[in-house]
Amino acid sequence: MNNDSKILIVDDFATMRKVIRNLLKQIGYENIVEAEDGVMALAELRNQKIEFVISDWNMPNMTGLELLREVRADSNLCKTPFLMITAESLKENVVEAVKAGVDNYIVKPFTAEILNEKIGKIVAKYQ
């Protein structure tokens, strides 16, 4: 992945998508697409080449966890790096996400530095 790689932000809150977009810009990523929930995200993932997914956990229609399971079950998408963002880090949630194949997670609130560090760790894992 490089700075031109396409990143998908999935969050039902428009402001949070803007916040994440701004943080990504600060760390050099500008090729960004957005989706409001898991259903829309899955459509974006199947329509274009997306190299990294940053998804909120708690969303209507399809949660981040359900999206992750769909991605990992799809032979065309299963190797897409997936970073989960959550408002809480309850142990059972983390275990569930890890079992479903999440690459890493961030607990809100977070800074550009934390986001950069998590993306870096995931990218290194896939190289």
């Binding site: 803007k18 209507p60 408002a87 809480e88 309850l90 809100k108 609130p109 977070f110 800074t111």
Partner: protein, 156 residues
């Protein structure tokens, strides 16, 4: 209301506002509030359920929330619009998550509903337990806001 419920919300509020909006809120002396009136121009409220239940709200003065969200989004916002309402919901959600994480460490496990946002002068905050609630006032360089907490064991 047990004070152990309050500190996680106090700390969560400071952490979220500082990290996401780069503003350091200064907490004042908490007080008990009777009645449903809100202490701000726009409020986010979220229901909590689990080993105890209740609700948590954040009420912001207009000047304060305009600065916080402008900082969060990196663009100037001059009036309460859809972005502001959306952000109040998300800030309430984040503080609730941060507080629930701390409460979980002491054996109090809570789940949260989706936040609701209310605006307008004279708007009300109706707590699930009916009240009274404990209000923590905060001052910022851009105006005040409050955290309004009402959590406990429901009385039958």
């Amino acid at each position: 209301m047990d004070v152990q419920f309050i500190n996680p919300f106090l700390e969560g509020t400071i952490n979220v506002v500082k990290t996401m909006a780069f503003v350091e809120p200064k907490p004042g002396k908490p007080f008990l509030k009777n009645g449903d009136y809100a202490k701000g121009d726009i409020s986010g409220i979220i229901g909590l359920a689990g080993s105890v239940r209740g609700s948590f709200a954040l009420s912001f003065s207009e000047s304060c929330i305009l600065r916080l969200v402008s900082n969060m989004l990196g663009e100037e916002i001059e009036c309460i619009n859809a972005d502001i309402k959306d952000a109040v919901g998300e800030i309430t959600n984040m503080v609730s998550g941060a507080a629930r994480q701390k409460l979980d460490l002491v054996g109090i496990s809570l789940t949260a509903a989706l936040p609701t946002v209310v605006t307008g002068s004279g708007h009300t905050i109706v707590h699930l337990l009916g009240g009274p609630s404990l209000v923590i006032p905060f001052e910022t360089d851009y105006g005040p806001f409050v955290a309004d907490v009402c959590i406990g064991k429901p009385q039958n």
